[in-house]
């Protein structure tokens, strides 16, 4: 077994064992999808709530996995000295990053499959032509959120990473259009939100997967900036121990 495969196997075994990780990556997005599709409490711009909530939930799923699960998991690995110990093994940084990326992408594929299947059950019928744009957005979002998560994990103690990442998750969940569209936020707050990666990713997924929708150019710019700056900052400031 290659070092990379050995690392992926171990990470997978640990990830599936930690139920709190599954809760964050699957439980919360599913809950948001089902609840806000069935209960008409938020003013979505589409006739059927699910038509807005489903693509927004895809963005939420990516944020959960790439920022929260990856960040908190890595933060504790750093605190426990796991990363330091791995640094003295032949695994190497490149394969470690590759293994983490594999895990994030695998998780996201499962999340998207489950969420899309459930959304279909709730009557969601997105335009097929929107998928390439949506998937491009989810990929950029993954880079942006992973960069943020790893920046926190690589600079703060494990518990501080846990607290700040969860706090950030909540703020971005509420201001990112993942439940309440940002057009319904006060304009000053919406203007700030447009500079953050969550609202930008939701704009891309909803813009491309809502029939007749379109993606505002600002969203691609915001997302591209975060997708570049996040990983660069993480690479620059990440400390292994």
């Amino acid at each position: 077994m290659s070092p990379y495969a050995s690392q992926v196997r171990t990470e997978l075994a640990l990830a599936t064992r930690q139920s709190e990780q599954l809760l964050v990556s699957l439980g919360i997005p599913l809950l948001v999808l089902v609840f806000f599709s069935l209960v008409d409490v938020v003013p979505v711009p589409t006739a059927d709530a699910v038509d807005y909530v489903a693509p927004a939930t895809l963005a939420l799923a990516v944020m959960s996995t790439a920022m929260v699960s990856l960040g908190i998991g890595t933060g504790f690995e750093r605190q426990y000295g796991v990363l330091k110990r791995l640094g003295a093994s032949p695994l190497g940084t490149t394969r470690w990053v590759a293994a983490k990326t594999t895990l994030v992408v695998l998780t996201e594929v499962v999340q998207v499959a489950v969420l899309v299947a459930v959304a279909f059950g709730l009557g969601w019928r997105p335009p097929v032509t929107g998928w390439p744009e949506a998937i491009g957005g989810l990929a950029l979002g993954t880079l942006a959120f992973a960069g943020l998560g790893l920046l926190l994990a690589g600079t703060l103690p494990g518990l501080a990473t846990l607290a700040i990442t969860n706090g950030l998750y909540l703020v971005l969940l509420l201001t990112g259009g993942m439940i309440v569209p940002i057009d319904d936020l006060p304009s000053w707050l919406a203007n700030i939100a447009r500079l953050l990666p969550a609202a930008a990713l939701v704009e891309v997924t909803t813009g491309s997967l809502v029939a007749g929708g379109e993606v505002g150019g600002w969203a691609w710019i915001t997302l591209a900036v975060w997708a570049t700056a996040g990983p660069l900052a993480a690479a620059r400031w990440f400390r292994w121990s």
Binding site: Y80, G81, A88, P90
Partner: protein, 321 residues
């Protein structure tokens, strides 16, 4: 020293005038020593002596501020990528996920090496078979240390760097660690381990390197280090002491071996001790700690550390003995 596979007796670690600084603090100060294949070299020193800083340079974690070190002929920082294939390490603490199981983490690391040891054999050999599938958070301190040692061994290393490998390990666990070290020695592995535990050092060391405040206070085989303390009597005494007068009274050479501490180069027989104390009494002086140096490393170690105390701070012993 070559970068090829070493055979017993070859130098596998060579440290030359190594300096490690953290800002203004000097953690390792012009340290020099060597370690050989097929030997257990013990880096012995009190807490804060610079052991971990030194070992972490050899492991490639910390850059040197001056001097150099070679592990298997290679630079530990620059050639880190090559050395990780050939060197096994044990961190002072941590390094293993609490949620993982011994068998899993050993299989994980086994996958990093081309020709690893058998995981189950290793678990058995270190007395971990009974907890192979217990999560690490439920293991005892000693079991965790042995697991950490197992991780260091899994890739069949030529050199082992073990930072405090027996800290927190119970007696039975220590025996297992010792017998593991013994078989590594026979296999020609070069082992460098740090400890502040004299007893441990005396039991396992082929070579001892005593480090204090970043400086190497002594280096050599156990026999070499303990030999020059044979037949001497040491004492501490505050107040002004006339070394020449005392030498005349005792008929032996008396040396000041540190601030307030003196060595008499003569066997510590009861008669000499009696004459010393009565002479001191006549002079109105009191001796604290009169000690006969035997061949115990403990005595040598204390003497070395005391001798090193040029600034006079007394932290040499834990009270009179």
């Amino acid at each position: 020293m070559t970068s090829g596979t070493p055979s017993s007796g070859d130098v596998v670690i060579e440290v030359t005038d190594l300096m490690i600084r953290y800002g203004d603090i000097v953690a390792v100060d012009t340290a020099s020593f060597v370690a050989h294949a097929g030997e257990v070299t013990v880096l012995l020193g009190p807490n804060g002596a610079g052991k971990t800083s030194l070992v972490e340079h050899l492991e490639g974690y910390r850059p040197a501020s001056g001097g150099q070190a070679r592990v298997l002929g290679l630079d530990p920082v620059r050639d880190h990528g090559t050395l990780v294939q050939r060197v096994g390490i044990m961190l002072q603490d941590g390094g293993i996920q609490p949620a993982i199981r011994p068998q899993e983490v050993l299989r994980q690391y086994a996958g990093f090496f081309p020709n690893p040891l058998d995981v189950d054999d290793l678990l058995g050999g270190l007395g971990l078979a009974h907890c192979a599938t217990t999560t690490v958070r439920r293991l005892s301190g000693g079991e965790r240390q042995r697991l950490s040692l197992a991780l260091a061994l899994i890739g069949r290393p030529e050199v082992l760097l073990l930072d405090e490998p027996t800290a927190g390990v119970d007696l039975e666990g220590r025996e297992q660690v010792r017998s593991t070290l013994e078989s590594l020695r026979c296999d020609g592995v070069g082992v460098l381990l740090t400890t502040h535990d004299l007893d441990e050092a005396e039991r396992v060391a082929d070579r001892v390197v005593v480090i204090d405040r970043g400086r190497i206070a002594a280096e050599g085989s156990l026999a070499e280090i303990t030999s020059h303390s044979d037949n001497s009597l040491q004492f501490r005494c505050h107040g002004s002491l006339d070394v020449t007068a005392l030498a005349a009274a005792l008929g032996a050479v008396v040396r000041a071996s540190g601030q307030h501490s003196y060595t008499i180069d003569a066997p510590a027989d009861p008669d000499r001790i009696a004459r010393l104390t009565s002479w001191l009494a006549e002079e109105g002086l009191t001796a604290t700690e009169i000690r006969a140096s035997g061949t115990r490393l403990e005595d040598v170690y204390r003497t070395l550390i005391v001798t090193h105390d040029h600034d006079g701070t007394d932290r040499s012993t834990g009270g009179a003995s």
